[in-house]
Amino acid sequence: MNLLHVALLLLLAILMGLVLAGRATAAANLARRSVLIIVSCLILSPFVWLVFATFKDPSVLNEYVFLPPFAEWSAETINLSNLRTLLAPQETVHGTYSFFLYIFNSVFLATAQTLLQVTFCSMAGFAFAVYSFRGRQALFLLVLGSMMIPPILLLAPVYRMVVNFGWMDTYFALLVPGAVGAYGIFLYRQAMMRVPKELFDAARIDGASELRIWYEIALPLVRPITGAFCLVVFLNAWNSFIAPNVFLQSTYKMPLPVILQHFVGQYENQYGVFLAGTFLAILPPACLFFYLQREFILGLTSGGVKE
């Protein structure tokens, strides 16, 4: 431990002490903000590292943890070489593809998966919340119980089903088994149980069909939950790795996480290209989140207040 370490630890201890003392003084406020800034820097540092690595030339990628010293900045040390390699048309046994195809594959799979899950989970949640039928509790417990089975255990049986249905190397193999999940059903059931039943009865009296009640009454009333649920499902589908690897065979059908893994392997690693791809892979969900953040946050905070 050198002098710098000691000084930083001392500073951190003083700031923490002031915060813990909880005095509403200017010093305490300053301390709080300083601690938050330091913690934010720590949390953001991997992302900053990723961004810097994207723009570092492969020849200096490992030489400097972040960026080269300012004096060494030049087109030879900081450039777009990683992005150029990544975005260059890639030759495969099937033909030549643009990297954007993989991005769109991921966008398609993640959005389709999200839409399917929202549709079927909300329908099932609606049924469990609104209808009384024999065996409802038992069926619901069965659905919840399915959450206890580790997904990897289902790989072999699902694989067999996919082969038997002739879905290998098609998106059906990814979308159909993932079209509904116990977590979503539980979430929508809980949300829809809070909707007054009188609203549904009124709609029925007005002649609405059950499907229309679900679509025009129930779904709009649970929008905050839909926002939060979409975020969770979209990110899961976006990062999905094992299933596409197992069920897809043609390179041009693969989503981003699978393709990116090809740049790091047993015999050679193109870390710069891999990190540039990771940087690009973060952008679509990040943009989506910022665009829809009000809806997402509404969903995450709904239920936070006791009624």
């Binding site: 030489e63 769109f104 966008v107 082969v163 690897n245 065979q249 392997g265």
Partner: protein, 457 residues
């Protein structure tokens, strides 16, 4: 516009429509592709790209169409295991890494999903051409299931400039005993006088990274399993090695630093923190790619022996090619495997791209192996070929990975108890622990109801 489910869903609907449109247009060009005659799975991008370059030649010669799929090696393992468990047909030809072999050929011998290649290897005379020990890597109960693709001999890479500065002649480091003595005397140093060691001799994992410890285990001539798959872990040599490893990685006298992989390793090597690193042929290529600025600063030497005149190399990793038992065209799959394994153009381009030498002694005379590598400033291929004939034999087992993990646990437990134990007691402690591992793995093997008679304990 009124859309009852809300803005989020509307946005997703627009996104899915746009993505589907783009994908549809892009894929139109592949719609008329005819079904392939052979399906081939590979896990290495380097292999994929080289094979892709020569496959048209094979396809034209044989009049077939080969569909090659590249998968990350973890994914390949998942897929092969799913295929195996679900009892579905394997692709005609598969390439995978040696750590996956044991698990994929478990069970009754006649249900192993790959074709034994003994007859084919004998008929073509290939069986006598492999470097020693390479076929054993892919053999269960006398059946050779795989065509070896490599030898992966291990050498020590060192910082040429630092050794020159310290006046150390690598040729004198003939044994590990000598290596450790020189490391303690001349290499390990607190250069700034602040009480922190600034330079260590060698990269060794603190936690007994199984990949690195197995290099030393194999070099010492210790096989964790015999040819029948029986465990051999309750072994005094292994106990001695673990105690030695502990001494070099722990305490004030340690000579090693756990440099890890990737950027960490590059930082440790470029900042002079670590001087030596164990490298199989393929890892030399990683060093070239990760540290291009260090060209000319590294040298290569054989591993120090455990005793004067002892083995000076080991092995790390390995890839084999396997023909599915259910392949509808096993002859063509074999011809493809032969072509990919023996084609000289491919062997040369493979070496240029990966620094990996082939397992066929007959191919070691190719001129490409004598060319001086610009980064290492020596004929890299020839240096590895010089030791390739001494690569130790390793017998595979489904429990090989488990055994290495358990050995790492022994190392961790030794670290916890070492301060209360003298040298002799440490050895006894490790022997006792190895006895437990041996017994546990024997029990696991006994539970396997599908072992053939010759494999029973």
């Amino acid at each position: 516009m009124y859309f009852p489910p809300g803005k989020v869903i509307l946005t997703l609907v627009v996104m899915v429509a746009v993505a589907a449109g783009y994908i549809g247009v892009q894929r139109a060009q592949f719609a008329a592709t005819p079904p392939p005659d052979l399906h081939f799975l590979v896990f290495s991008r380097a292999h994929y790209e080289r094979y892709r370059a020569v496959l048209p030649e094979f396809e034209a010669e044989e009049g077939v169409r080969v569909h090659m799929t590249l998968l990350n090696w973890n994914s390949l393992r998942n897929r092969l295991q799913a295929i195996r468990i679900a009892g579905l047909p394997m692709p005609d030809l598969v390439e995978f890494e040696r750590s996956q072999f044991g698990a994929l050929v478990r069970g009754p011998l006649d249900l192993v999903p790959f074709e034994p290649l003994n007859e084919r290897l004998e008929a073509t005379g290939l069986i006598d051409q492999f470097a020693p020990g390479r076929l054993e890597l892919w053999t269960r109960a006398g059946r050779h299931f795989g065509v070896p693709k490599d030898v992966h001999p291990v050498m020590l890479a060192y910082r040429r400039d630092i050794l020159a500065e310290l006046g150390i002649d690598p040729a004198e480091l003939t044994t590990w005993e000598r290596f450790v003595a020189v490391a303690r005397e001349k290499i390990v140093a607190d250069l700034t006088g602040n009480g922190i060691i600034d330079r260590y001799a060698i990269d060794m994992s603190l936690t007994g990274n199984p990949e690195l410890t197995q290099i030393l285990i194999a070099q010492r001539g210790i096989d964790l399993f015999d040819a029948r798959g029986r465990p051999l872990m309750h072994n005094a040599d292994l106990a001695d090695l673990i105690v030695w490893y502990h001494e070099q990685t722990t305490g004030a006298n340690r000579i090693s630093f756990p440099a890890g992989w990737g950027q960490n390793l590059a930082q440790a090597l470029t900042s002079d923190l670590v001087v030596f690193i164990m490298v199989p042929d393929w890892r030399t290529r990683q060093i070239e790619m990760d540290m291009p600025g260090m060209a000319g600063k590294f040298g290569l030497m054989a591993l120090p022996a455990w005793e004067e005149g002892g083995g000076r190399t080991s092995t790390f990793g390995g890839t084999g090619m396997f023909i599915s038992r259910q392949s509808e065209n096993p002859e063509m799959a074999w011809r493809l495997a032969e072509f990919l394994a023996l084609d000289e153009t491919l062997l040369e381009s493979s070496f240029r791209r990966t620094n990996i030498i082939p397992p066929f002694a007959g191919a070691w005379d190719l001129p490409v192996f004598d060319q001086v590598n610009a980064f290492w400033q020596e004929p890299l291929g020839r240096r590895f070929i010089e030791v390739a004939g001494d690569v130790p034999v390793i017998h595979p087992s489904p429990f090989y990975g488990l055994a290495l993990d358990r050995i790492a646990n022994v190392l961790a437990r030794l670290r916890r108890h070492a301060r209360h134990l003298d040298a002799e007691a440490r050895f006894d402690f490790v022997m006792e622990e190895l006895g437990v591992i041996q017994s546990d793995i024997e029990q696991l093997i006994e539970r396997d109801r599908f072992l053939s008679e010759e494999e029973r304990l």
